[in-house]
Point group: C2
Chain length 260, copies 2
């Protein structure tokens, strides 16, 4: 695991400047552990706990963290939300339902853009999540610069704590991720050329002619054109063209044997 | 809860034409239930189960579904993956790691775009998820049109089954959701005008003059300009301007009383 690829070797390597995840009055250690796992999935490593019901550290958090121990080990404990966000200059409060406060309301995508812009300017940011039972108090929401709400099925929008952390964290992670939304199946260098396809079609036509496949000479070019169209649409690799050469040859050999 | 707002009243109302979620050889009923909850959060209601280890129906699935009973009640059982996808024309296979198959690889965003385009053309689509232990077999992946992989922290990318369903489902849901990424805190009709701010600043200047606040007359316009700049940046509502009028008046009254 030692490595030149630092991002692969160190699970926390991507987290620099990332927002702190602040769990306010979480109840079950299991849920804190599941949050740690969701955080590290999204390269978030800074967990802050405000007055967890069962104290801290809590051994119940370890199994559901599934190896995200570094998040649990580094977690900082606070007695009040104000203390947990004292060093931050931009704080979001996650809420499932609208609160009657005149604050901007961001989606995960809007939040990610704002968090990344502020991180790039050197700001320290954080995201507040309420406890399992009823979420954040209005007093906690009042501390935040803006509200973050994940749009979901309006008739069934309740998430558990770790799922909320995962969706919000993934919004943040995805905006920094350069993976192409659609990666082509065959690298350009391995794609079959038109000449490769010409050779394959020539072999196929030869076999079909030998086999007497074309009942009507008028249909011969139409059928060959349709087959070429289908193969073109598949975007074959050179390797796949070779496989088809072998298949056509083998089937023809079998047919020839049958005729004997 | 009866209503004109059908999408709010019926948790499954948004799901028409949405992709089927196909769980292949899931093990724990609890995880099937958690998947049902994640599905309904994302307005996905069609669950298909291929050879669940502990049979179906499974009462263990009910509590973690947290009320997503309609997904469990409608779930269809199959003995083989081929049978579960027989009616579909576009199938994605979720995998955490690359498989050595020449298939397109999509992110949740890329997958959502493709699924929605195909749904709009009347196609029936589905997404395969493997069991908890080792994900999809290569034989199952081979059945799919394309692979779906969620980019995550490369050093810590393992998700549990319901979290994978949630991230993939949310990618699908979010692409059909019109919520603005940044909703302004004050509706346009309630925003204070420049005239409202003029009046507030005039009252403030009057009180500060009465109070002898400005030690140097040269600084008076500078300080008033800075205060106006800060209040402007807050983008006050008319209601908030009224609140500040009351605050300034009250503080001045208190000061006047102190001087008596």
């Amino acid at each position: 695991m030692a490595g030149t690829d630092r991002s692969r070797g160190d699970p926390g390597a991507l987290a620099e400047g990332a927002p702190a995840i602040i769990l306010v009055k979480p109840q079950l250690g299991e849920n804190i552990g599941a949050c740690a796992r969701a955080m590290l999935n999204c390269a978030l490593t800074e967990m802050r706990l405000v007055a967890p019901r069962d104290g801290w550290p809590n051994p119940d958090a370890v199994p559901p963290a599934s190896g995200a121990d570094l998040v649990l080990d580094r977690a900082k404990l606070f007695d009040r939300t104000e203390a947990a966000i004292a060093d931050l200059t931009f704080v979001l409060a996650t809420t499932a339902r609208p609160r009657d406060m005149a604050k901007p309301v961001l989606t995960p995508v809007g939040a990610a853009a704002e968090l990344r812009a502020r991180t790039a300017r050197g700001e320290r940011t954080g995201i507040l999540f309420g406890g399992e039972r009823s979420g954040l108090d209005n007093e906690d929401v009042a501390l935040a610069d803006a509200v973050l709400t994940v749009p979901l099925n309006p008739a069934f929008s309740s998430l558990n704590l770790a799922q909320a952390v995962l969706l919000v964290g993934h919004g943040w992670f995805a905006q920094g991720d350069a993976t192409a939304p659609w990666q082509l199946p065959i690298p350009e260098a391995e794609r079959a050329s038109q000449a490769d396809l010409d050779n394959l079609m020539a072999r196929l036509a030869l076999y079909l002619d030998q086999d007497g496949f074309f009942a009507s000479p008028e249909m011969r070019p139409v059928i060959l054109r349709n087959i070429r169209t289908a193969l073109l649409r598949a975007g074959l690799s050179r390797q796949e063209v070779q496989t088809f050469h072998g298949v056509f040859k083998s089937v023809t050999g079998a047919r020839a044997a049958e005729k004997d």
